[in-house]
Structure formats: C-alpha cells, structure tokens
Amino acid sequence: MIWLTLSMALREIRRNAMRSFLTMLGIVIGVGAVITMVTIGNGASAQVRKEVSSLGEDLIMIRPGADRGPGGVREAAKSFESDDVHAIRSEVPGLIAVTGSASRSATIVYGNANWSSTVTGCDMDYLTVSGHTVAQGRTFLPTELVSATPVCIIGTTVQKELFGVDDPLGLRIRVGTVSCQVVGVLAEKGESSMGQDKDDTILMPLATFQRRLAGSTDISSIQLKVAKNQSVNVVQSQVEALLAERRRILPGKPNDFSVRNVQEIASAMSSVTTTLTGLLGGIAGVSLLVGGIGIMNIMLVSVTERTREIGTRLAIGALGSEVLLQFLVEAIMLSVLGGIIGIVTGLGASYLVTSMMAMPFVVSAEIVLGAFAFSMVVGIAFGYLPARQAARLNPIEALRHE
C-alpha cells in the first residue's frame, strides 16, 4: 500500500508537471540557498584556517593595546620600542626569529606613476616570520639596517603599478617624503582569504622607517617564531611576563598589550566567518519556510480542484485516512523532490563559486541531511492541513461539486 501510495502521488505530480515544478521551486531555492551559503561559508572558514596556519603554527604576534577579542575595540596604548625587541631576543629562550616592525600607508611615486601602499619598517627576521621571500635583487645589508640607508624591497603589485614590465632594480622611487632605491622585489603571494593583496607592500629597514618616514622610534608590532622543539604556550607566557614587567603592569591588572599565537588568531577569524555563515544560512532558511507555504497553497488549490475525484474515491470505499495519506504523501513528495533538486543545485553552485574563488570545497554531510530532513518536515507540516481538508470532505457534497 505504501508503494502504491507513492506511485499514485508520483503519477499525480507528473499529471501536473509544470505546476508541480513551480510548487517545488520554492523549496528548491530555499534548500539550494541554505546549502550554497553554508558550503561557501565553510569553505571560507577552512581557507582562513589553512592560510593563517600556513604562516606556521609556531608564530606569536604581539601588539600594543589590550585584546578585547574579535570585534572588540583596541584601546590606545603605548607602542613598543627597540629595547623591548632586544629584551625578548636576549631573555626568552627557544626563538628562531624575533622582529619588531612598524607600518603606515604612504604614497609611492615613480616618474608620472603613483600608487598608495603600506610601508613596513622591519629587519630581515621579518621575512622569515611573514613568509615573504625575495625573488629578484637582494635583502637589506646589515649596514643598511643600522645606518638607516634609504633602500626598499617592493611587492609585485607595487612593481606592476609603478614600473609595468620594466626592471625596477636600482631605480629610485619616492616613498612618502623619502627618496629611496629599490634593491629587491618580493615573490608573489597572492590574495589572502579576507581579500587583502599581500603583494601590495613595501619593506624598508626599520631605522630608515623610524627616522625618515615616521619620525619616532615606535614599534607597532613584534612577531616571534618559536623553535620546533619549544612549546608555543610556554614561550607565550614568558614573553607576556617579560613585557608586563618592562611596561610596569601591576600584578593582577590587565595587560596593555596582547600576545597571541596563530592558532588563536585563526580561530578568531574563522569564528567570524562561522557567524556570518549561520546568519546567511538562517536567512536562506526563511525562504524554505516561504517555499513550504507555497506547497500548502497549491495543495489547497489541488484539493478544491479534485473535490469530485475525492468524492469518487470516498464512494468507491476509500477511508478518510487513506485520502489524507494520499494528499500528505503528495505534499511530502513534492517538497522532498524539491529538496533533492535544491541539494544538487546548491552543491553545484557552491562548487562553482568556491572553485572560482580558489577556496576549498567543503561539503558538510550534516547540512545536506539537515536540509533534506527539513524539506520533509516542511512537506508534512504544510501538507497536513490540505490533506485533512480533503479527508474530511462529505462524499455526497464532493460528488455534487462542479
């Protein structure tokens, strides 16, 4: 009987193919949207994690200002100084690289071309920590770092904007108010998951940056790379204690700087994308609800249209419960079919989008099963009322219905 009811419902759906399709469309779009949103969101989260982790899980980043978590406001606080960097280097064991850096945006001019980019003052450990490598030319010489020589290494975006296809090595450009010589070009790194162009950057020796560009000895960021055999957490707490002492933070008071490792940053960033994914998925879920109402509407129309048929079935000896089941199964079949089509199109659409944005394609089985189950529930919930209406028809009146 179950099989028969199913095939009867399927025949009914085929009998009105166009209308059935339009009815399903609401569910198709709803399920498709949920699947697409969540799959793309998961892909973005995965990419953020992958990317931040690719910097190395052994990285620690220190910034001035208390950390208020994602979305929190960073309070203005005293910057670091070169002595802080030296202190960490000499007093905390187990570090491969320690680098203090400062950056600001500046206009870069070469001939008639100008471009706005981020200028970072740093030492050579910065390359190790940030994962940049020099593709053409050379790195800074030790003497250049000490004597604040006006030299710079440019990213490929800056190179393209200022020089086009010409060789920039040895040429002089103006960075803000400083005229400096290009000694190297960084290897291309591409875009980060947050859409940031990592090649749109200029590096210069920290001393040059401080004396000629910033006019202060502030260091806005310290980055550490921990040796393989060292515990990141142990190093992190040692650095925290050292800086608290140097900045005269009283015991029990909150630090006016934050020390975070890459893992923490990765999870903070992916929690943002997870929240966004949930939000978008929820909005898409609302369209599923609308789709369900569409099914109810069509089923009510169908019951009215088929009143005589229902009367005939009742006269032939169908029980009210059998008529109810017939219409309910029809509604469920419509919504489940819509759900399946929605899952397929949703996965297809998100596959297209993720491959276009070079993101990982992460299919979450829970969300696929969840969307399927939800479309079934929608069918039951919104199919029940019309089905009950059909089952409660008076056969005499139903037979007389025109």
Partner: protein, 235 residues
C-alpha cells in the same frame, strides 16, 4: 418476480426517515420509507426532483445516514456503523455509477477500473487481469490505454460501469446513468446494465427520471414527498 422465501434482502428499509435542518425549517426528505430489495432484482427509483429519490439512493449507498428507522444491508444494521465501517461496506459490497461518469482525469481506462481494487489491496498483476476482464465485459477491451479525454460519453460510462463491477459487488448503484447521454447511447448503457443483472445476477438499483429507462428494470418505485407512492413490477 417472486422472491424465494427465507432469502435475506440486500437492502431493507424499515420506517426510514431523513430530516435536514431543524425546527420550522426542517425538511423531511424521507418520511417513513419501508423497502426491501432482494438479490438479483433490478430496481428503478423514480420521482420528481425533491421527491427523496436521491436521498434514498445516498442512504442505500451508505453515503448518508438516516435520522430515524432501521436500514439493514445484507442483514447488517447500518445505523450503528462508524463512517470508516460504512466506507468498508462500500468498498467490499457496492459499486457506483454516476451521471457525470466521475472518471479520474488524465488517467487511462485501465487505471480507472483498477482503482477500487487498489483500495482492496489486490496485488498488481491480479488487479490488472481483473480490470481487463471487467473492461471486456463492457466491450472496451481495445480502449484500456485510452484516457477519459480520448473517449465518448458512452465509452466513459462503460468504463465507469466496469469500475463498478470489477469488485463483483452485491449491489450496483446507478445514479442517473444515462442523464448525460443521447438516446442511442442510453439504450446501449441500459442494455449493458440489464445483461449484467440477468446474466451475472448483479443486483441493480437505479435512480432515473426518465420512464423509458425505468422500464428496463424488473421493478419501479415512485417517490413523492419523501414517501413511496407506487410500486410496480414489470411484466
């Protein structure tokens, strides 16, 4: 026609009343009807509209319940049955033919005839065999795969009759079966019903307002104002 003594009537009305509405607006559609229909009879019910003939038909078909009186179908008191039990009674013992044919749209003749067997849980192969057999009995073996849109009125009514007899019912109820047909088709349908009654022994109750059609029956009952006013037996 004489009724063998001791046989249980298919339909037995005793003082059946059916009242619609209440108080001053009450309409007595059936007003104390006594009636017995025995197996093998072909009963024509006649009467003007509003005479109670349709109500009587609905009560016989267990689609409606009487307000008062006793209705026994094959000896079973119908008044105490639930709606579902009455549906099962229809499913197993009755066949219906309507004025408007009431075939399912966009469905083949074969599938229409199979429908009552579906509700009887007859297996697919057996269902198909019996449906084809019933179509053969109404002379439509070659129309099995046609949908109702592809058939004439007479053919549709034949399919409806096949649907009604496919379950081998104890009682065939026909409500104005020729009402939508021209006279030639009407005669054909009546001849079909008569032959089913004579050759297969199916008990037939037919409501009609056409005296010509009523004459095909073995017995004619005339309703007026909710009462049986005359009862004639065909020669």
């Amino acid at each position: 026609m004489t009724v063998p003594a001791g046989s249980i009537p298919v339909v037995e009305f005793r003082g059946i009343e059916k009242v619609y509405g209440d108080g001053d607006y009450a309409v007595r559609a059936l007003d104390g009807v006594d009636l017995a229909i025995h197996p093998g009879e072909f009963t024509s019910i006649m009467g003007a509209s509003g005479s109670g003939k349709s109500t009587a038909m609905n009560v016989i078909g267990c689609l409606d319940v009487p307000t008062a009186g006793s209705y026994r179908f094959r000896g079973v008191e119908v008044g105490v049955l639930t709606q579902d039990q009455r549906a099962l009674l229809r499913r197993h013992f009755m066949g219906f033919v309507f004025q408007g044919f009431n075939l399912l749209a966009r469905t083949t003749a074969l599938e229409n005839v199979e429908l009552p067997l579906v509700y009887r849980r007859v297996p697919a192969r057996e269902r198909r065999r019996r449906a084809l057999d019933a179509l053969g009995q109404v002379g439509l073996s070659d129309r099995a795969t046609h949908t109702s849109a592809e058939m004439s009125g007479g053919q549709k009514q034949r399919v409806a009759i096949a649907r009604a007899i496919v379950t081998r019912p104890s009682l065939l109820l026909a409500d104005e079966p020729t009402g939508n047909l021209d006279s030639k088709r009407s005669v054909e349908i009546m001849e079909l019903l008569t032959s089913l009654n004579r050759e297969r022994g199916i008990t037939v109750v037919m409501v009609t307002h056409e005296p010509d059609m009523a004459e095909y029956g073995s017995r004619t009952i005339l309703f007026r104002d909710g009462k049986i006013v005359s009862e004639g037996v065909a020669a």
